[in-house]
């Protein structure tokens, strides 16, 4: 937002609001990456903001989940305490309430690790998107360090491009959904064998002309499930941030519309509490979205194991 606030001569606030919002929720430009890396197999491997956020999330998940669990396991059979206790409650809830009822008791220990990984990764990626760390760094950089926004070589200025919610990027959610897609196939294959899993896609014992219609419908259904996961998570994470920024932008829009700072400050008495309320809602959304993704993955994997037609 801070870099995006550079005003082109002659353009109004209304002209800039849309661009600023999109700039704030989208990934940073591949032509101005944070770290330049060479092309590999024709793909630019440079690190953009969302790639950096994925790395940060990976480190945070490792520090907050893997390390306490390893410590707990090395202590022996004592009861978990502190953060390990909290993790145990989450693990137990997901195993008993999400995975077990969907995949069944036989496969619960096979699929719980994957679904837990999804849950913690998405939860951390969503949550970190609510922390305006780079905006605060940008303010510090601009007003304390005195670095102008136009200095494109400054590292922190480079970090201000793009949003911080990696799960608001459709490529990230598509990658997660692709894992789910292959998990569905692997789960069906492990439970019934590959050929039987393919046969299980359609109900047995129907007249052959019905299969001409049903087989394409079921094949499309296979693709639709991961697509639902991709769109739902990314759209929900982006939508909240857009609503938040649109509300805050009202201050600048009204100030310009009435040519008065008082109008902008007056609108702030409405838009800031509303933005605060939406931020509160977003905290719930962060958890709900992680939960829904894991629930849907468990349901889809369960459907390929426990075939009901």
């Amino acid at each position: 937002m801070i870099v995006g606030g550079e005003k082109a001569p002659g353009s109004s606030v209304m002209d800039q609001v849309g661009d600023n919002i999109i700039h704030h929720v989208s990934n940073s430009d591949i032509h101005h990456p944070i770290v330049h890396l060479p092309h590999l197999f024709g793909i630019d491997m440079s690190v953009t903001k969302h790639v950096l956020m994925l790395w940060i999330v990976a480190v945070l998940v490792s520090a907050a989940v893997i390390i306490p669990i390893r410590k707990y396991l090395s202590r022996g059979n004592s009861a978990p305490s502190g953060i390990a206790n909290a993790i145990e409650a989450v693990v137990k809830f997901i195993r008993d309430s999400i995975v077990a009822p969907n995949v069944g008791p036989k496969w619960v220990h096979t699929w719980t690790p994957l679904i837990l990984t999804f849950f913690f990764f998405i939860l951390f990626a969503n949550a970190i998107g609510m922390v305006p760390i780079f905006d605060v760094l940008g303010l510090f950089n601009r007003f304390v360090m005195g670095v102008p926004a136009s200095d494109s070589h400054n590292f922190i200025n480079g970090m201000l491009h793009g949003g911080v919610t990696a799960t608001g990027n459709f490529n990230v959610t598509a990658a997660l959904a692709t894992i789910t897609f292959f998990s569905i196939i692997v789960a069906g294959t492990k439970a019934h064998g590959f050929l039987q899993h393919i046969k299980n896609l359609v109900p047995h014992g129907l007249a052959w002309p019905i299969y001409i219609i049903l087989i394409p419908i079921e094949l499309m259904g296979l693709i639709v499930k991961p697509f639902a996961l991709t769109m739902r998570l990314a759209a929900n994470m982006t939508g909240g941030h857009i609503a938040l920024l649109a509300l805050l932008s009202l201050m600048a829009i009204f100030a310009e519309m009435f040519h008065s700072a008082v109008a902008g400050i007056g609108v702030a008495f409405v838009s800031v509490p509303m933005a605060a309320a939406i931020s509160g809602l977003e905290v719930i959304v962060v958890m709900v979205q992680a939960y829904v993704f894991t629930l849907l993955t468990a349901v889809f994997v369960g459907m390929s194991i426990n075939v009901h037609h």
């Binding site: 259904g221 499930k225 769109m231 889809f300």
Partner: protein, 80 residues
């Protein structure tokens, strides 16, 4: 008093877990219905742009999306 509170909290959590268990298939069916309409409608729209066949591609895509979405919905509703 503490026992009553523990009992209330325990019962509430059990009810919450029950709702979670029951909501899974319904959520999957609802999201699949929406996603199939979006995916196939979008594919139809792209085909229209490419072959300049508007609006037949979009309408066909939306129709197919509805069929697939409702088929998936029916599968979860009429599950044995």
């Amino acid at each position: 008093m503490i026992d009553d509170q523990d009992n209330f909290l325990g019962k509430s959590l059990e009810q919450f877990q029950r709702f979670v268990r029951q909501s899974g298939p319904a959520a999957a069916a609802a999201y699949t219905l929406l996603a199939s309409i979006l995916l196939l409608g979008g594919a139809g729209y792209i085909i229209d742009q490419y072959f300049d066949s508007s609006p037949s591609g979009l309408l066909t895509g939306l129709g197919l999306g509805l069929i697939i979405g409702f088929y998936e919905l029916a599968k979860s509703v009429f599950k044995k």
